[in-house]
């Protein structure tokens, strides 16, 4: 099946005008499959880290949300150890008006503002709730360990 015009447009725009701290490039053999890197936002425990993600646009896209997963290990209450992300716009709050760029920006924002009240990695969330400082320390360690440039 031919690639929808929208995906082509989005890809072109991502390449031509990348969002700061985010890169996304489609695989040559599968234009629906993107290699993504997100830089850890300044001021967050993930600062100076570069996180690799994979993004896949399903057949129904944009009527259905893209599938996104962290490849780099990350210590974050809303991201489990398999890299799955708990983010409303990737689930029920998805809207076809959202795009790859907006999804990635949202993920970047999620790094700045973890939400332990809606956890995916329960132990991490518990850690963040009970002792945020210590938890942030672990996050920084993991970033240094797994996501350094």
């Amino acid at each position: 099946m031919a690639l929808p015009k929208r995906i082509i447009k989005e890809t072109e725009r991502l390449v031509a005008d990348p969002a700061p701290g985010i890169s996304a490039a489609p695989h040559e053999d599968n234009l629906r499959y993107f290699d993504v890197t997100i830089e850890g936002p300044d001021g967050s425990p993930f600062q100076n880290g570069v996180f690799r993600l994979e993004l896949f646009l399903p057949e129904e896209y944009p009527m259905a949300p893209p599938k996104v997963r962290f490849l780099t290990k990350i210590y974050h209450p809303n991201i489990d150890k398999l890299g799955r992300i708990c983010l409303d716009i990737l689930k029920d709050k998805w809207s076809p008006a959202l795009q790859i760029r907006t999804v990635l920006l949202s993920i970047q924002a999620l790094l700045s503002a973890p939400n332990p009240d809606d956890p995916l990695a329960t132990d991490v969330a518990k850690h963040y709730k009970e002792n945020e400082k210590d938890a942030q320390r672990v996050s920084r360690e993991w970033t240094e360990k797994y996501a350094s440039k």
Partner: protein, 1109 residues
């Protein structure tokens, strides 16, 4: 030969020399026209005097019927027909022939001493009649049998021994006399149960030595004995010869003279081969009409039940055909009788042939035109029709021209002048402009072969013709002419407007003098509008007729009255007016008025002036409106009294030969106007695949019909009508998935239903139901709303679209918003301003420029229609409320969406919904409460494209479904296109208004929506040059006629026709059926079924519809 003749003359003293004959030839000379001649007025009148004559005879002779052998005049219907249609057509010589050609024929015949004996009594049949022996000759002197040929055939010996016969000896042929007794008793028994009329016929037949039914069944009675001079039987003819020769001998049709033995063994033994030469003479009595009644209405409808008389007739016919075949006699002129014809003479064979023929047709879709025409079912394909008309058109190129009188104000084209001449000559009773020396279509001409006299053939002798009717088996010595006595005809020019109205107007101006009063009419008290012409037309065309008639006349020369509507004038008043003024009165009325007037007439003592007046001329426009002979309209039309009758129609034969009947009936074209006659000579043979049926129709048409087509060329080789080109295209469409689901489910149900019925063989009984399912399917193709019940939750699509005033919308938006009032307001205004500036907006979903923007009223976000609809559908599939994709506000419903309409109207035409100060371009919003369909979208798309090319286009949209027309009109409103509607639910006034407005010259596009039933005919819509056919018709002819409303005289532009077909639907199957030559579908199939039952052909078509691929 000569000595035998002498012998005849001398010996036969028990028989009076026929004074009849002398009288007849006297009459030939002195009375060229006889008062006995039955007028072609009506079949009953024509037949009655003959019957009476005959009855008198027969009653007298009844006592000695065994002695009466003479076949008197019979009451065969075909016989009747010939009397009147072709004056000289009959062998019946009591009537003096009236034309010189006949005289000459009969005088020639008397030269050779062959002159038919008529009603001269014959000796009783003897027990052992020696047919060829002089003593037993039943011929009066002065009459002779005519030599028609020689059969050399085998025979076999029945005796053993020597000296019975030698080669070269004369052989006598003997036949056992018939046993009258059985026949008579049978006949009487039969007659007792029958009506009086028939009894006479039966009695009559008894007087002839015809084989009784019992007799015909006994093969042994076909024995033909060969005897020597001494009268001793030595041999017999073999079965294959005797079976038909015996018939002819029994019927006294032929005799054998001077037959000789060619070869035989000297010593005979039983079964020995003999070769004999039999000289066949046709007896004068053979030229008398066959004395049985062949065709009676009741018999025709009694399926397969042949009466005794019919059997005899058929045997006679078959035997004669075989004889001619054996003698190698070939018709010199007239229709060739194909071999099939011989074969199909017996009922069972023709039936079986028919069934195989049908099968053939089924497989043979792309057949050779000629062949298919023979094999065809009752329906006619276009090819057949062309073939039928071809003969009538053959000489039209050379037709002379005639100029209209000065009171006619228009100039006629060449072919119109030709038509005027033709119509003028048809009316004035002059010989038709065409050469009318046609032989009667049922007859063929043969020549008597020269008789060898003493072994020599006189080659100088002229060949004498005789005529044979292979249908009735009749023989005649007189030339059976096909002649016309009516005044009027069928003007069947083309299918499109060639100016038929104008031609008839010219005729009205040309032939305005009253008919001379015939002596027989003087006694009649008929109110006459002496000069008045009555025009009967479909209600939709009344105005057009009136306009055209006035346009074509010098003012004051024609007085047109449209006699229609509730307050119809008393026609008598018109009559009185007529005395004072010099103008020609023309009354125009509709078929509907005529039918209701006729109903009034039929009520007890009802009166209706239109039927009491004898019109000078009645013109039926679109005469195929009364093609069904049993309809009220048709009956009303037949009841009109007129001196001159014209039927005007582009399709005298819509799809059946029987369509023609009604026209002929209206024209009083005897004998074809008698239904039994038409049926037995045209319909029935056609059903039996006898090509003769077509030939007969051709000859009929040649004498009454004028038909030119736009493609025909005049004598200079120019096209008679130069019409601009016509481009027909088919746009194939694909359903949207949703439509596909709806359609498939309906189709599935219908197919299951049909399959079940079909398996039980109940389709015929539930035909109406099946048709209803089919209609539903066809509607489903057009638009889902046409099949979905309104309470299914779908919107009421026919409601008028409400345009939304932006000024009221903005406050609504403001009121709705609960936060950021200022920014919201600003945003809304900027959206609307952007709309006005027609700047491109990107759809947030497809990231493309929005084509047809839909605005979400809550937040004023915009999307493409398809994107937002897809999004909302996806939401509802997930069980969620629809939300704005951009701002997630909700809930959003599809019908709340606002559609932005950029009006393409010219700038000065401000949209009424906008304050002109505020916004420059005409832009409006409307609710997205209209659900379109594939077909509708395709139409709108085409119209938009058209508007880009031609801002003032005129288009016609045809559909069969008025409900679909309503949907289209709603959609057109939304597109802000001007439309007019023309359908059967509107009264004449409204229809006329619609047409007038549509034709008006305005600087805007206009679309006319027409339902086929109402506007398929007659209308002149040459202002338009784009035609859109929304659905397909069963009958392509109807489609063409609809298109020809536009593609006709007066059209100056190329005409574009577009058919919309949705693929993989019932429409494809309909096209398939259209392509099948056999399957121009019946009236019943088009949904106006009368009986509620389908015939086999319709069922076949249904199987195509519901069949698997």
């Amino acid at each position: 030969m000569s000595n035998k003749a002498l012998f005849f003359a001398g010996s036969d003293d028990e028989i009076d020399p026929p004074p009849v004959n002398g009288a007849a030839s006297d009459a030939n000379v002195s009375q060229p026209s006889t008062p006995l001649d039955p007028r072609p007025g009506s079949p009953s009148i024509a037949a009655v005097p003959e019957k009476r004559l005959f009855l008198v005879d027969s009653d007298e002779e009844d006592a000695f019927h065994s002695a009466a052998r003479a076949p008197g005049p019979s009451v065969l219907p075909d016989d009747r027909a010939d009397h009147s249609s072709s004056d000289a057509g009959l062998p019946c010589l009591e009537e003096a022939p009236r034309t010189s050609s006949v005289n000459s024929i009969s005088s020639q015949l008397s030269d050779t001493r062959l002159s038919p004996a008529v009603s001269s009594p014959r000796p009783p049949p003897l027990k052992k009649q020696r047919l060829a022996s002089p003593e037993n000759s039943c011929h009066p002197p002065g009459m002779e049998d005519a030599y028609i040929g020689c059969i050399v055939g085998n025979a076999w010996s029945t005796v053993k021994g020597k000296g019975y016969i030698n080669p070269g000896d004369e052989v006598l042929i003997e036949r056992d006399a018939l046993e009258d007794k059985t026949g008579r008793v049978k006949g009487q028994n039969k007659a007792a149960g029958d009506k009086g009329k028939k009894r006479q016929l039966t009695l009559k037949s008894m007087m002839n030595p015809q084989p009784s039914k019992k007799f015909t069944k006994r093969k042994i009675d076909a024995v033909i004995r060969l005897t020597n001079k001494a009268g001793f039987e030595f041999g017999r003819l073999p079965q294959d010869l005797s079976v038909w020769i015996s018939r002819l001998l029994d019927l006294d049709m032929i005799t054998f003279k001077g037959s000789t033995m060619i070869d035989c063994p000297t010593v005979l033994h039983s079964g020995a081969d003999l070769v004999v030469s039999l000289s066949v003479y046709i007896r004068a009595s053979a030229f008398n009409p066959p004395s049985t009644s062949g065709i009676e209405t009741s018999k025709i409808f009694g399926l397969g039940q042949d009466t005794e008389e019919e059997t005899i007739l058929r045997e006679r016919k078959t035997a004669l055909l075989t004889l001619f075949d054996m003698l190698n006699l070939r018709p010199r002129r007239g229709a060739q009788i194909s071999r099939d014809c011989h074969v199909s003479n017996t009922g069972s064979e023709s039936r079986s042939e028919r069934s195989t023929g049908k099968k053939k047709v089924k497989t043979e879709i792309v057949g050779d035109g000629e062949e298919v025409e023979v094999e065809d079912g009752e329906e006619l394909s276009d090819n057949d029709l062309q073939l039928i008309y071809r003969k009538a058109q053959r000489n039209d190129q050379a037709l002379g021209e005639m100029d209209p009188p000065p009171t006619f104000s228009l100039t006629l084209r060449g072919y119109q002048k030709q038509a005027l001449l033709w119509m003028h000559s048809m009316e004035s009773g002059e010989k038709s402009a065409r050469d009318a020396t046609c032989m009667h279509p049922l007859w063929t001409e043969y020549a008597f072969p020269a008789e060898p006299r003493e072994g020599l053939i006189d080659l100088t002798e002229d060949e004498k013709p005789f005529y044979f009717n292979p249908y009735s088996g009749e023989l005649s010595l007189e030339f059976p002419k096909s002649e016309l006595k009516l005044k009027g005809g069928v003007l069947a020019d083309g299918k499109m407007g060639m100016g038929k109205t104008i031609m008839l107007s010219a005729l009205i101006h040309t032939n305005k003098d009253p008919e001379p009063v015939r002596p027989e009419d003087e006694g009649k008290k008929v109110r006459q509008l002496k000069l008045a012409t009555l025009v009967v037309a479909p209600a939709s065309l009344l105005l057009q007729w009136s306009e055209e008639l006035q346009r074509s006349s010098v003012p004051g020369t024609l007085r047109v009255t449209v006699w229609h509507g509730q307050n119809r004038l008393e026609l008598d008043a018109l009559h009185e007016d007529d005395e004072n003024r010099k103008s020609i009165p023309v009354v125009i009325t509709s078929y509907g008025v005529l039918a209701s007037e006729h109903a009034k007439l039929q009520k007890s003592n009802g009166q209706s002036s239109v039927f009491q007046i004898e019109w000078l001329r009645v013109i039926l426009d679109e005469a195929h409106h009364c093609k069904s002979r049993t309809s009220k309209t048709a009956r009303a039309v037949y009841a009109l009294q007129a001196k001159r009758r014209w039927a005007v129609t582009g399709t005298p034969i819509v799809n059946k030969l029987e369509d023609l009947y009604s026209l002929l009936k209206f024209l009083n074209f005897f004998p074809w106007s008698a239904y039994p006659f038409f049926r037995s000579f045209i319909t029935v043979p056609f059903l039996a695949h006898d090509p003769k049926a077509i030939e007969i129709v051709q000859v009929i048409l040649e004498s009454v019909l004028l038909r030119r087509e736009k493609s025909m060329r005049d004598s200079n080789g120019n096209r008679i009508v130069e019409l601009p080109a016509k481009e027909v295209s088919i746009e194939k469409l694909q359903f949207t998935p949703a439509e596909r689901i709806i359609y498939d489910s309906i189709y599935g149900t219908a197919k299951r239903n049909f399959d079940q019925l079909n398996a039980k063989g109940l389709v015929g009984k539930n035909y109406t139901h099946v048709l209803a399912m089919l209609m539903r399917l066809r509607r489903a193709v057009l638009h889902p709303s046409l099949v979905v019940n309104p309470d299914d939750g779908s919107q009421d699509c026919s409601s008028k679209p409400k345009a939304v005033d932006l000024d009221t919308l903005i406050p609504d938006v403001l009121k709705d918003s609960n936060c950021e009032e200022g920014s919201k307001n600003a945003f809304a205004e900027s959206v609307l301003a952007n709309l006005a500036n027609a700047s491109d907006v990107e759809c947030p979903i497809c990231l493309d420029v929005v084509e047809t923007p839909l605005i979400i009223p809550r937040c004023m976000h915009q999307c493409c229609r398809d994107c937002i609809v897809g999004h909302l559908t996806a939401c509802s599939e997930r069980g969620e409320e629809g939300r704005c994709p951009t701002c997630s506000q909700g809930p959003v419903k599809e019908i709340e969406l606002m559609e932005v309409v950029r009006s393409k109207n010219v700038l000065e035409e401000q949209s009424p919904f906008f304050d002109s100060n505020k916004i420059q371009a005409a832009i409006s919003l409307r609710r997205n409460d209209f659900r379109s369909s594939t077909k509708l979208d395709a139409l709108l798309q085409n119209l938009r494209r058209l508007q880009d090319q031609d801002p003032y286009f005129r288009a016609i949209v045809f559909s069969q479904f008025t409900s679909f027309l309503s949907l289209i009109s709603t959609a057109l409103d939304r597109e802000r296109l001007t439309w007019y509607r023309f359908d059967g639910t509107m009264d004449t006034k409204k229809r006329n208004a619609a047409i007038t407005e549509f034709r008006q010259n305005e600087r805007k596009p206009k679309i006319l929506l027409i339902s086929l039933k109402a506007g398929g005919v007659g209308l002149n819509l040459t202002t338009a040059n784009h035609v859109f056919m929304m659905d397909c018709w069963w009958n392509t002819a109807t489609e063409h006629q609809a298109i020809d409303r536009v593609h006709r005289l007066g059209q100056e532009k190329t005409v574009y026709v577009k058919h919309f077909i949705v693929e993989d639907t019932v429409e494809g199957r309909i096209l398939q059926i259209q392509k099948r030559k056999t399957a121009i579908v019946k009236e019943a199939f088009r949904g106006t079924q009368q009986s509620g039952k389908g015939d086999s052909e319709s069922l076949e078509n249904l199987k195509v519809i519901f069949g698997d691929d």
